[in-house]
């Protein structure tokens, strides 16, 4: 049995990393993920891990070294946020294209400018097309659990895709919560040993990684990469079940709260989903047919599953903690509505952009969103597809 410990989200992730004991961690700390690397550096300094910890000079070199270390043939982990993730951007594509199962914990934070260190999802959303699996956790427990599952998902032979363990900066990264930390041996056993696929350090079988790939092969290689996402979806479900069997907390592509008979639903990512859960139970007590779809896997995007879960709703609010400049709406809205359209689920939806740069979200605002959905339901059409929550007009 594990033990329940009061931990900040960052330290919960560092605990998971200690238990996983990766072969290489190359990192350049950045707020609000700094503590992950700092705490891990202590584990390293105290000989609690076998890891070769490389304190590099930038996030760009961090991801470059991590990718190359993974190519060399071992387990590799890292952490970052915001500008750090943005500086890794170029290499994120390459990690994915080379099919290296690097696991990166991301304490989500706003992007500059102007500079802002607090939570929103601009960084994660910006990196959404880099080819990484993206899991979003709600709290410190999920950040810990997702970190462990990310390893198993990323390393499956049919997947072999790098994976981001995303959770909200400060709201989760710096908040103390009671976290059920499993026993070291149990985690080690659940994750299993690393199985290298064509390690570069196998000098007897030399090969060329990252060659020039022109019009005659590049497209097929990209197609293979796209196919890996199909396998990734299955992997997330299967590993989530396997995790549940051993540790009692089961995970899937998403979490549906009171959605079976819900007329009004909210779709959200991250810590906000926790507040929505409370709002749902309050409104349910008052007899309102409300529900929540908390999306866990943003990449791969479970389009059919989302459409099936929302198809009977009368109105849906999609909460975006990021903007997509020049687009019709926020990134999550665009993806959810396109899933609904593709799967012939005609549900009026409204986009609520909220919480940018760490702007607080209050339970009353969530109640207001459900109230607004009443109007959408009765009119049948969203009068204003994009709305802003908690903003000075």
């Amino acid at each position: 049995m594990g033990k329940v410990m009061p931990l900040e989200g960052n330290n919960a992730v560092a605990e998971a990393m200690r238990q996983i004991n990766p072969d290489v961690v190359a990192a350049y700390p950045i707020t609000p993920s700094t503590e992950i690397v700092q705490t891990f550096a202590k584990f390293h300094a105290n000989g609690q891990v076998d890891t070769n910890f490389v304190a590099v000079e930038s996030e760009h070199s961090a991801m470059s070294a991590c990718t190359a270390a993974a190519v060399a043939g071992g387990r590799v982990m890292n952490a970052t946020s915001s500008q750090g993730l943005a500086l890794m951007w170029e290499i994120l594509f390459i990690t994915a294209s080379l099919r290296q199962p690097v696991v990166l914990s991301v304490a989500n934070r706003a992007l500059s400018g102007n500079i802002n260190i607090h939570c929103d999802h601009s960084d994660g959303m910006g990196a959404r097309d880099c080819g990484w699996i993206q899991l979003y956790g709600e709290n410190a427990q999920e950040a810990y659990d997702n970190c462990i599952q990310a390893i198993a998902i990323a390393e499956r032979e049919d997947v072999r895709l790098p994976t981001m363990n995303c959770f909200d900066g400060f709201l989760v990264s710096h908040a103390y919560e009671l976290v059920e930390v499993e026993e070291d041996a149990a985690v080690k056993d659940w994750v299993g040993p690393y199985k290298a696929v064509r390690p570069l350090l196998d000098v007897k079988n030399p090969y060329t990684v990252g060659p020039l790939d022109l019009w005659d092969y590049y497209f097929e290689h990209k197609r293979n990469q796209i196919e890996a996402y199909v396998a990734a979806k299955e992997a997330i479900i299967e590993e989530g079940k396997r995790f549940g069997k051993v540790f009692g907390r089961e995970y899937g592509l998403m979490e549906c709260v009171d959605l079976e008979d819900a007329e009004l639903a909210i779709v959200a990512l991250g810590s906000t989903a926790g507040m929505v859960k409370d709002t749902v139970s309050e409104l349910r007590e008052a007899g309102k047919k409300v529900g929540l779809l908390k999306l866990r896997s943003f990449r791969p995007f479970p389009d059919a599953e989302i459409a099936a879960a929302l198809k009977n709703c009368k109105a849906v609010a999609i909460l975006d903690r990021a903007a997509s400049y020049g687009a019709a709406a926020g990134p999550l809205y665009a993806e959810v509505t396109s899933a609904l359209y593709a799967h012939k689920a005609e549900v009026p939806c409204v986009n609520m952009i909220y919480g940018l740069g760490g702007r607080e979200v209050q339970p009353e605002q969530l109640v207001d969103i459900y109230k607004a959905l009443e109007d959408v339901k009765s009119s049948g059409q969203p009068a204003q597809p994009v709305r802003f929550v908690g903003i000075r007009e």
């Binding site: 076998d50 590099v56 070199s61 470059s64 990718t67 190359a68």
Partner: protein, 311 residues
Amino acid sequence: MAKNLKQLVDSPVRLTGGHRLCPGCGEPIAVRQVLMGTDSPVIVANATGCLEVSTTIFPYTAWNVPWVHIAFENAAAAASGVEAMYESLKKQGKIDADADYKFVAFAGDGGTYDIGFQSLSGAVERGHNFVYVCLNNQAYMNTGVQRSSASPLGMNTTTTPAGKVQAGKTKVQKDLTECLVAHEIPYVAQSIPGRWRDLVGKAEKAFNVDGPAFLNVLTPCPLGWACDPAVTAEISMLAVDTCIWPLYEVEYGEYKVNYTPKEKKPVDEYLKLQGRFRHLFKGEEGAEVRKQIQEYTDRKWEQLLKKAGQA
């Protein structure tokens, strides 16, 4: 030097002849000589550039050793990552404790002097045990001869073109070798492909030191230098004889000039063989730039001799 010429010729071929680099390119010559500097298994990290694109056009490869390319500016970071994994696995007993793998990063001057400078500086400061080789052809040749900070004074490039009011590049090159010396790493040296004994010997030293080593190799580029592909070796030797590119090494801060020409040749002899300096041989402005090049060369050479205690 441990090996004689025959033994070198019989060394395993680590970069095969089936690559697509230009005739007369100095890079493959330098790479083959560097890789002759060790008999241990060697793993190559390569930056984006001529060497990378011309030796690995999928599904072909000209490399007989493990080779990885991540991007343009991170050959040093990539080599750090591979070396870090090697050290980790070795310490954990997952790689034989007696294994003696060597790591080398190859990058052009663009990927070293400019965009890759940070990752190089960071990697050598961290003390990774690898050899970094700058294949220095003094401009971004792969993308069409744009200037880099390794481009010399007066060079005609597509971004410092020789025009009516400007005679090519108006600034001297960055002295990157000295920047690396300032990092106080175990071994720093300059060489050329024209003097194989010098280059192979330096590569051997570089592979054998414990910690980072840096080799700056001047590699003539017939395309960018507009010179005869047949004179690659000779032209690099002229760079040495004019003292434009002195052969020297710095071991733990100790300077040693490896070659002092009996009679220092005027820089014009080197410049006139190359179309990239052709404009300097027309008019007064060109003559003035050539004079500046000569003065700069003399000054740097004297400074070097002083550092080596030879002046």
